[in-house]
């Protein structure tokens, strides 16, 4: 069963005839060919696939592409680029908040709206905000510091 969808990703419109079962994550990765969104568990726990749907963070492995039809998606590719990093990306680099980098885009896409809604978070609020994303490398210490640093800036 296929269906026509049209999804705006990072300001560009991607239209395709897709199977109804195609996840939004697979649409982003294989139709739009934006490889910055990663699949870590495909069951909604790890948060690596987090993107923003109409400005709010969602797990793109738990949504179907058809559910995003006509809506706006923002992925890590829109956040900044080499040489012109977003302040959050700068802070991650500064505090060594990433190692293998596989989980990093999901953290960034969760944190950008978090800091928009809560520009001066407490340590407790930062930890809570981070608890929806798994990182196996860093032990989170650098990530917590990065959020604090980005909020200060």
């Amino acid at each position: 069963m296929t269906q026509q969808v049209s999804i705006e990703i990072n300001g560009e419109r991607y239209a395709a005839e897709v199977e109804a079962r195609l996840s939004l994550a697979d649409f982003i990765r294989y139709e739009a060919r934006l490889h910055g969104t990663h699949l870590g568990c495909e069951h909604g726990v790890c948060g690596a696939c987090t993107v923003q749907l109409d400005g709010e963070p969602v797990r793109s492995c738990l949504l179907f592409a058809v559910q995003a039809d006509g809506r706006r998606v923002r992925t890590v590719e829109a956040l900044g680029e080499p040489g012109k990093l977003h302040p959050l990306q700068e802070a991650f680099k500064e505090t060594h908040a990433l190692q293998c980098g596989f989980c990093t885009p999901g953290f960034l896409m969760s944190l950008e709206p978090f800091l928009r809604d809560n520009p001066h978070p407490s340590e407790e609020e930062i930890r809570e905000a981070l608890a929806g994303n798994l990182c196996r490398c860093t032990g989170y210490v650098g990530i917590i510091e990065a959020v604090r640093l980005a909020a200060e800036r």
Binding site: H43, H96, Q99, C100, F102, R127, C137, G142
Partner: protein
């Protein structure tokens, strides 16, 4: 620049979504693979009917074990020094029998991953169940069902050593402390599961494999063995890798099956593992039963250790499966001047996915066993555990120090590590605390690197060492730039392609800086010497193979915990870690390794356990059932380095990748035992979940 906290040059590509992991590698025309896996832990294969799957939409081929037998044998079973291992390498696809739930029996190749998975469900696998072999001690009992009938028993590896007068020491000991231990299996769980893309060029008879692996050259050797083809008929490319922690050090049988399919079909074949497969079929870590005895004099002198170790190796031997328990055995005298040892390790076949190295790889088990025994001895003798350690630590003037089991510790200052960790821990505040020492065997073997000065003044470093998150590009550029007096930005670092980079051993055992970094340093020195002789910075290329004996990092860890006896809830309040890894090249990255490893160790203490039921089925096969810690669950973490250089390499470096995962469990286990002591509980094995702590307190 050695010792400077340079920020990582690799970060920008990871932060902007520009990194390329194996599933991002664009190979035109690639088909997709899915695997049919055994649903039984132990069974005879009566029949596999692949015809319905072959007729399914989008399917290009279905291959069973019989179909790949002409091209592929087994993966190599590896070896251990002075020990024996069975001929039980992992098959590419099961034939005749399956030996764990999740073992691949057929590969389905289709036009998309979804269609391949659809068709995999249509393959009819008729299995005659056999009794599962789950418990290692039961597996060794007379009459136990045999995994590999031709072996005659369920033993996959065996090693033993007696050194010094252990019998005499136990006979004259003031006390003999005895305890049995059980260390559960863990899952490495890198955020990126495994995966590979195989492509075959028939005209050149060349196999190209892009693989999410710790390094390219071990896969090369393993594939050469499994496929019976010369090494130069392969090109292995390792792109960005989303973590490994030991679990991507052997080529997956699934990748070999993908190569066979690509050769049969003349089209590239991609396999991207999902998380369920990673839980079921990627080799797991730890899994050890142990009986220990420690002979102690009245003044607390440790006289001898006796250990019987039973390692849960699972159904087959990957090349590294038998290694961690051998490492545990060799470290049974720990950081102490214990003159006699009697140690035996038996690697046991069980109907579970094989085990293999997971961060620490035998050393956390050793630290846990030895350090728990030291605390138990302190308790029995009424001596303060820190004081008992001081009386027995290998003194700083005793290096090089040969242990009775035969390893030569190169350098160290263990007492300084202990002093420093007590400073970090802070004054007694009434909470239970635990202290532990650890030894990390690291380095050894060889690595190679080339340094090439180009006419435009830029320098290219090519390394056989390969990263999966550690930051090789930054550190190797830092080393070369220091030696050549350049800005690190002028140094490019290339890795991960057997066609371009010099040969390497691999990224494991915390060996990249000491071995790979020293190779880079010596190659840079050769370039510098050429420049000195020619009197100018002329173009030149030097390649160096650097060898060294084993290195031994060490450290002291400590933890403060709080226990709620009513609920069994354990709260870890603080973990302090002091690592002596020799010279630290980049303290920012080194601390990152320590913190990440501590939190993995904390997970091992608090929540992580791979649980198989009596039928051999994995009951913890998702992140909902196998928890990883999140940022909300962190205690206070404080770390410091002691830097005793190694004499075996020009950097003076040892290994930093695993210490946190080695020391944390032992320290917390001792703190938990201290917290349980007032309730009459002497010992508890991890993980310290509320249920396990509550049962220990209330079901005595």
């Amino acid at each position: 620049m050695i010792g400077q906290p340079l920020r990582r040059r690799e970060d920008e590509r990871f932060l902007t979504g520009a990194a390329r992991y194996v599933d991002d590698v664009d190979v035109p025309g690639a088909l997709h693979a899915a695997f049919v896996r055994s649903f039984e832990a132990h069974a005879r294969i009566r029949k596999i009917d692949a015809e319905p799957a072959r007729r399914a939409r989008g399917v290009v081929a279905v291959l069973t074990g019989a179909d790949v037998a002409d091209r592929a044998g087994r993966l190599p079973a590896g070896s251990i020094e002075d020990g024996v291992v069975a001929d039980a390498g992992h098959p590419v696809l099961a034939r005749d029998k399956v030996r764990y739930a999740g073992e691949a029996v057929a590969i389905v190749v289709a036009k998309s991953r979804a269609l391949a998975e659809d068709a995999a469900e249509l393959v009819e696998v008729d299995l005659e169940p056999l009794p599962a072999v789950v418990d290692v001690l039961a597996a060794l009992a007379d009459g136990a069902p045999l995994l590999h009938e031709q072996l005659g028993d369920n033993v996959l590896s065996r090693w033993s050593k007696r050194a010094g007068d252990a019998v005499g020491a136990f006979a004259r000991a003031h006390r003999v402390v005895s305890r049995s231990f059980s260390i559960p299996r863990l899952v490495a769980a890198p955020m990126e599961p495994r995966g590979a893309v195989a492509s075959y060029d028939a005209d050149r008879d060349l196999v190209t494999l892009w693989t999410s692996s710790q390094d390219p050259h071990r896969p090369l050797a393993q594939l050469s063995f499994a496929l019976g083809r010369p090494r130069d008929s392969f090109r292995i490319v390792v792109p960005d890798v989303g973590g490994a922690f030991g679990s991507k050090g052997a080529i997956p049988p699934e990748a070999v099956a993908a190569i066979v399919a690509a050769m049969e079909l003349g089209r590239p074949v991609r396999w991207t593992e999902d998380r369920l497969e990673n839980f079921l079929a990627a080799y797991q870590g730890r899994g050890l039963e142990a009986d220990l005895e420690l002979a102690v004099a009245a003044d607390g002198e440790l006289l001898a250790v006796r250990a019987r170790l039973y390692a849960d190796l699972g159904a087959y031997l990957f090349p590294t499966t038998a290694v961690p328990s051998h490492t545990t055995a060799m470290l049974m005298t720990g950081a102490y001047r214990i003159p006699a040892a009697d140690v035996e390790v038996v690697g046991v076949a069980t109907s579970k996915v094989p085990t293999g190295p997971y961060r620490g790889a035998g050393r956390p088990e050793a630290a846990y066993l030895v350090e728990r025994m030291v605390d138990l001895a302190a308790h029995e003798l009424g001596i303060d555990p820190v004081e008992l350690r001081r009386r027995n630590l290998i003194p700083r003037d005793a290096f090089p120090y040969e242990t009775p089991l035969g390893w030569v510790y190169d350098s160290g200052d263990y007492e300084r590590c202990l002093d420093r960790v007590l400073e970090l821990l802070g004054p007694e505040d009434g909470h239970a605390r635990g202290v532990a020492m650890y030894i990390e065997r690291c380095g050894g073997l060889w690595e190679s690197a080339s340094v090439e000065a180009l006419p435009d003044g830029k320098v290219i470093v090519r390394t056989g060492s390969s990263p999966h998150g550690q930051g090789h590009e930054t550190v190797f550029a830092q080393i070369a730039a220091t030696e050549l007096d350049l800005d690190p930005a002028e140094v490019e670092v290339r890795w991960g392609d057997t066609d371009e980079t010099p040969a390497g051993v691999g990224t494991f055992a915390s060996r990249s800086v000491a071995m790979g970094g020293s190779a880079v340093l010596e190659a840079a020195r050769a370039v510098k010497e050429h420049w000195r002789q020619t009197g100018a910075r002329t173009p030149f290329r030097a390649e160096v193979r650097f060898e060294s004996p084993l290195l031994f990092a060490a450290g002291a860890y400590a933890a403060v915990v709080e226990l709620d006896p009513a609920t069994g809830r354990l709260t870890v309040l603080r973990v302090a870690g002091v690592d002596d890894s020799g010279t630290i090249v980049n303290p920012l990255l080194a601390e990152g390794q320590v913190l990440g490893a501590i939190v993995q160790g904390l997970g091992e203490c608090l929540v992580e356990e791979a649980i198989h039921d009596e039928y051999g089925q994995l009951r913890t096969a998702s992140f909902a059932d196998y928890s990883l810690l999140t940022a909300a669950e962190l205690p206070d973490l404080v770390t410091a380095f002691v830097e005793t250089p190694s004499p075996h390499n020009p950097l003076g470096a040892k290994g930093i990748g695993e210490g946190g995962a080695i020391g944390t469990l032992a320290a917390i286990a001792n703190a938990v035992a201290a917290a349980l002591a007032p309730f009459g509980v002497r010992h508890l094995d991890p993980p310290y979940t509320e249920e396990r702590v509550w049962r220990a307190l209330h079901e005595r």
